[in-house]
């Protein structure tokens, strides 16, 4: 059985490597957690609280920025404090996504591009500059470059499903990550705030819900 030169043995090998990476990552997270030895005691609870608040603020700000890895802060908080922190991470993720969407929707596109260049976020500014001259629907299609016309048509028709899938797709940092996707969604003007909000609530729920219901089993 071959497909595009990929043999069954090759597929099994790739799957095995993926399992190996996951196992290594699991082991690594446990090592980090043990090394941190984060115990909440009466004498350090206030400091832990401050650290969580600062971490949550940084998480919202970074996650809302395109091409900035913010999800790692959320995973670090989950690894450090366990399932109990999952509701906070979930709420912060929604806040970050809606912040990015609001920036894209309400900030004039030229002002957004200028602001990004001032903050030396060149890649993001370039993304916005590319989106600026395009008609609204093509701005969303820009995120799906390389896809067939059928996929594009389906993505535009079921745009809320498409944005939920894009947010949860591993490696979406190539197209700007969650923050970049939501800024472009806002820029496109074809997403209403309410529907987008409901989409985000559902789209970002898998990880925190899994942690809450299954525990922290990396």
């Amino acid at each position: 059985m071959t497909s595009d030169g990929l043999t069954l043995q090759g597929l099994i090998l790739k799957f095995g490597i993926l399992i190996g990476i996951i196992a290594l990552a699991t082991w690594g997270v446990h090592m980090i957690r043990d090394a941190l030895d984060l115990q909440i005691r009466p004498d350090n609870e206030q400091q832990v609280h401050k650290a969580i608040m600062i971490g949550a603020m940084a998480y919202i700000a970074l996650l809302a920025m395109p091409f900035v890895p913010g999800a790692e802060i959320g995973i670090a908080l989950l690894a450090g404090f366990g399932a109990a922190i999952a509701p906070l991470i979930y709420v912060c993720t929604i806040a970050a996504m809606m912040l990015a969407f609001a920036v894209g929707r309400f900030l004039p596109i030229s002002a957004l591009e200028r602001a990004l260049r001032v903050f030396r976020m060149r890649r993001t500014a370039d993304l916005v500059a590319r989106a600026a001259p395009l008609p609204r629907e093509e701005r969303v299609a820009m995120l799906l470059e390389g896809q067939s016309k059928r996929v594009l048509r389906l993505a535009l028709r079921y745009r809320y499903v498409a944005i939920a899938v894009a947010m949860n797709t591993p490696g979406n940092s190539i197209i700007g990550g969650g923050g970049g996707i939501m800024i472009i969604a806002g820029l496109s003007g074809i997403f209403t705030p309410l529907s987008t909000f409901l989409t985000v609530i559902l789209a970002v729920s898998p990880v925190p819900l899994a942690v809450i219901f299954l525990g922290l089993q990396f």
């Binding site: 115990q39 909440i40 005691r41 009466p42 004498d43 609870e45 206030q46 609280h49 969580i52 109990a84 922190i85 999952a86 509701p87 906070l88 979930y90 709420v91 929604i94 806040a95 809606m98 969407f101 609001a102 929707r105 309400f106 705030p193 309410l194 909000f197 609530i201 809450i212």
Partner: protein, 158 residues
């Protein structure tokens, strides 16, 4: 709808949903369950102080403390270092020559509630404690178990 109102609506929806989500998902942890009985503010332990030691049952950390009973109130010198709990009124009951006591200390500056339940047999005391912190995003509880002996009041500093 004007843009400012739309932004305000998004912000309100986000924070409102966030608050609702946290209040539903944030599982409360009950304070230490103190056995029911004829608890009364007798002041039976007034004038006593105990030097106690034990451990935080969740982390295994060793704890040392001095507790004082005075004028129908109770204070833990160690807890005072972390929050200004002040003096909390305590209640007692007597069963077969053993004095049981309980008190709840509430921190005025942070959401800490510390519930104490102990038994005094002769000069010795055994106590269970829960230190519960109810933050808006989670509830954390530290269970503590300590034992100790009577100590003269003048040996306690702070």
């Amino acid at each position: 709808m004007p843009q400012v109102l739309q932004i305000a609506a998004i912000a309100i929806a986000t924070f409102g949903t966030g608050a609702a989500t946290l209040s539903v998902m944030n599982e409360d942890i009950a304070d230490l369950a103190v056995p029911e009985g004829d608890w009364a503010a007798t002041g039976a332990l007034d004038g006593f102080a105990f030097r106690i030691s034990g451990e935080d049952l969740s982390s295994g950390a060793e704890l040392k403390d001095d507790i004082i009973f005075r004028d129908g109130t109770f204070q833990s010198t160690d807890c005072e270092e972390y929050c200004n709990f002040g003096w909390s009124s305590y209640q007692t009951k007597e069963i077969d020559g053993v004095t049981h006591f309980t008190t709840t200390a509430i921190c005025p500056d942070a959401p800490h509630t510390v519930v104490w339940y102990g038994t005094v047999t002769g000069d010795e005391v055994a106590i269970d404690v829960t230190w519960t912190t109810r933050r808006w995003y989670w509830t954390n509880q530290i269970p503590i178990r300590v034992v100790g002996k009577v100590t003269p009041l003048d040996t306690i500093s702070g």
